[in-house]
Symmetry: C2
Subunit: 544 residues, 2 copies
């Protein structure tokens, strides 16, 4: 245990390299949200994009976020045939007025001659002059040494000369980039050592990796092991092709794992670490992405113990099958249902919902029922509310509140008198409560006047008139709606998972499965209502 720790700097490029992810394009407000979250997390640098390269990046830099972290503009070294002062691309980057400027430049001889089509000396001159200029402008300068590892393997002397040209002209950080992502941890470690031997101290070296061989995290660790003290990465590992080094994985590793825990300091506090899952989910929300369940540390499955043997040991002592306590990163333990879960899982999950199931026979029956339903395409890993209702039904603890006799959904697209295309969705529902029939009809019209479609109309019609139950469910709000086709092609069955919230702040998920998407939605909506009535102890009036 060293008493004085080295400082390890974290450099986030979610807003620049992260935006190179296929299908990702952040709006300016979204960039501000992300920058704020990164600042809250405690990274040292936030790279905002390339001012001048495209309108949205320029817009963001016109009103930069106010962050404790060093807000950084990205660009490239000056082109040959003009001075640094007269390169309008470089000028565009400097004009953003950020405290730090990160310039990418070539270090691989092949790229200099092939991609740029200039001489090796011209490239070195471009690097040297660019950094002299940036430093003269009073900015903290960083050099992203593009293709450095490939370049070093092809021509070590030239690759190192490029780094030296930036370092000798005042670059604060020399960042070794594995641009194509093909380098393996052993090579990164060895080559980083060579760079340090060449005279650039590790306290001025950064590492920038990509995940093309699944080693972006390991390559970052290898460089740090060799002495590098800045790590570049992105939230959730966003980035070009297979993505960049995942900071959501690296941050907990640096804070919790040896040798890093006792030898390195980052700007991330333990309190901020506790918000890691929240930050990761926020980014997925912005991207409208389903969070990756298997993500290290932050994934919904990261602490899910499916194997029966694991689950029973976990109940004795969580450390038996967990490498860290989930709550440290804001995650939670899951003991999911499944054919393999076994009764120890099931009992603990029923207990969580206040159902004390004593007899083995009851447990067995519920397990069989769940297996049956899962075979039909249902999934209860997330839809806990529907799972609870199934268990109650199997135990005969499910009250008969009402019966839906029938419903009909109509969706129309036609032209109106003025020849404009209009849509109309209408749903009628007939509910039988204690022998009394309640007819409801709703349109799928949304707040903005547009047609919300049949599911929207169905959801409204179902809760519109539930007689004596209406007050109990009046505060239900549909907050999320997920659809998955559980079989490709024509025989497809549709699984719908719907999330609701109420004013008590409760959020519950229900599932419906059918070859008919409307009917699958109906089933999930109905379960959502029944769950709330059950939880709130509504009186069962039945049907007739």
């Amino acid at each position: 245990m060293s008493t004085t720790k080295d400082r390890l700097y974290l450099y986030d490029t979610t807003l620049r390299d992260g935006q190179q992810t296929q299908g990702v394009q952040f709006s300016t407000p979204e960039k501000h949200m992300i920058a704020e979250a990164l600042d809250h997390l405690g990274v040292d640098y936030i790279e905002g994009g390339w001012p001048g390269a495209n309108p949205t990046d320029s817009e963001f830099f016109a009103e930069p976020p106010k962050t404790r972290a060093t807000f950084t503009a990205f660009g490239m070294t000056k082109r040959a045939g003009r001075s640094a002062e007269n390169d309008e691309v470089l000028a565009g980057v400097l004009n953003a007025g950020t405290k730090a400027v990160c310039l990418v430049g070539k270090t691989h001889d092949f790229h200099v001659t092939t991609a740029l089509g200039i001489t090796l000396d011209q490239n070195i001159d471009n690097i040297a002059k660019s950094f002299a200029h940036v430093v003269k402008e009073g900015r903290e300068a960083l050099f992203d040494a593009e293709h450095f590892f490939d370049g070093y393997k092809a021509n070590p002397d030239y690759a190192l000369a490029c780094l030296t040209a930036a370092y000798d002209n005042g670059a604060r950080w020399i960042v070794l980039c594995d641009t194509n992502g093909g380098t393996l941890p052993g090579e990164v470690y060895q080559i980083t050592l060579k760079v340090i031997e060449s005279g650039i101290p590790g306290t001025h070296l950064g590492i920038h990796t990509h995940d093309d061989t699944g080693n972006a995290v390991a390559n970052s660790l290898a460089a740090v092991n060799a002495g590098a003290r800045q790590v570049q990465g992105t939230l959730n590992g966003l980035g070009e092709r297979c993505g960049n080094a995942n900071l959501t994985t690296l941050i907990p590793t640096f804070l919790l794992k040896e040798p890093y825990r006792s030898t390195l300091d980052t700007g991330v506090s333990e309190a901020a670490l506790g918000d890691l899952v929240k930050v990761s989910r926020m980014l997925d929300d912005i991207l409208n992405r389903v969070p990756l369940r298997s993500s290290p540390y932050v994934g919904a499955s990261a602490f899910a113990h499916k194997a029966g043997l694991h689950a029973s040991a976990i109940l004795k002592d969580p450390t038996t099958y967990e490498h860290i306590p989930p709550e440290i990163v804001g995650n939670a333990r899951i003991v999911p249902m499944s054919n393999q879960a076994g009764q120890s899982n099931l009992r603990s999950r029923l207990a969580d919902m206040g159902l004390d199931v004593s007899t083995k026979a009851d447990l067995g029956r519920i397990l069989d029922r769940i297996k049956e339903r899962e075979a039909e395409g249902y999934s209860y890993d997330t839809a806990q509310a529907s799972f609870e209702l199934e268990a109650r039904r199997e135990l005969g603890l499910m009250p008969a509140f009402f019966e839906v006799e029938r419903y009909r959904a109509t969706v129309e697209r036609r032209k109106d008198a003025k020849g404009r295309v209009i849509h109309l969705s209408e749903v009628t529902v007939v509910v039988n409560i204690a022998g009394e029939r309640h007819l409801s009809v709703s349109e799928g019209i949304m707040a903005d006047g547009s047609d919300g479609g049949p599911v929207n109309a169905l959801s409204k019609a179902l809760v519109k008139d539930l007689g004596p139950y209406s007050d109990l469910i009046s505060d239900m709000e549909l907050v999320d709606f997920k659809v998955r086709i559980t079989n490709g092609g024509t025989e497809a069955r549709t699984r719908v998972i719907i999330d609701h919230e109420d004013t008590l702040g409760r959020r519950w998920s229900t599932v419906g499965v059918s070859s008919n998407i409307i009917d699958a939605s109906f089933e999930a909506l109905l379960d959502a209502v029944l769950w709330k009535l059950t939880r709130d102890g509504a009186q069962a009036l039945g049907a007739e």
Copy 2:
């Protein structure tokens, strides 16, 4: 370059540890498909599951796949207080009659006393007796040393003694398991060296890792670097919690990357490597999962070049931004549309579809149109056919084949005379072709007689009578249907992506976006028809 290469053995546990993935449960036919694919790939061992642990595993072992690879049964070392001969769990595993048997056993003193609640000596005796028995039965024996790395850090002598008990009693392979996934590559490397120093040769050592710190692949490489010669993993990195080491990543790394390429031999041929993407996709199809675009080597984005600078360099020479040629693993290069893609991307993509767009103005207009649509929730990364139609519309090259005047979809759920719940979906479509109105109506009834829902009915009704076009589209088949909600909550917009195939073997994707899922589906279905008519040079008859 060594002339004689070491043999590296690949051990697949997709069917056992892979099935521990949350939400994954393979049917017996699916297990046979997967085993066949693994055998085609050329892995050395296929672990089929735990015979006797659950009905589906037992069913699979009752009719095992005929594979060149060594089919292996998984189980655990005998319990204390009974002989190996009289342990019915162990008997269940041996009774499967497989050539190889892999038994998991404890090596971490804490687990022996806490989880098992027996003495350290009893555990060693259980290991020794179990392997003596398995070997006496004439099976190839493997020892999964559970929690070995944690065990070694806590009590190295005891952990090593457990390995020796298995090895001295004839275990062919001692597999070092990082069961909780918390060990980092540096530790794996050092500890594996220690094990070899202790007297177990690397040619008898295997590695089994989990991805809880994002290092499952790197930890596997670290053990191989230290001398281990068997690697355990799963297809697509399936597995408990964050998953196991991803063989789909490791296999190309061993075959294509130094030092492995020139020093190690695996059972995987270059021809089989070319089917890697196919095998990976097949597994996702079985799981009805959306393939992870960012997967190393096999992901759809693994060779997607979004940045404008990258894309233009790629056009000059692919090696500038690709660490391997995509086709080696059966993957393909993508130059996706996006705000950052720039015109070099766009032109090459239009050229791919036979649209030669010469003027910068045209390119600019198309780019603006695509940006506009993407802002509305459309996504053209996969829906190339809809992208092509948008470009044609913008260029005035889109023929007017017909107009859909209106459609109406009805979905009903009610009880029939016998009180059984029945569903009915019906769609009417009115199409105007050259002034002639074609009315079509279809029900959503599927091959099995059940109700396929409104999208199914809509798809049938739309193509039912397109007059003179009917022959041209008669071989269209809807093969996939994906739905995504692009905004959570009530203001949700629905994005539908539909894949079609025809008898020419063409597969094309179209996209529709609307707040109404039926209408979004309609839009995608319509584009699918229009794309085929366009590609097949149908004559435009227009509407009136």
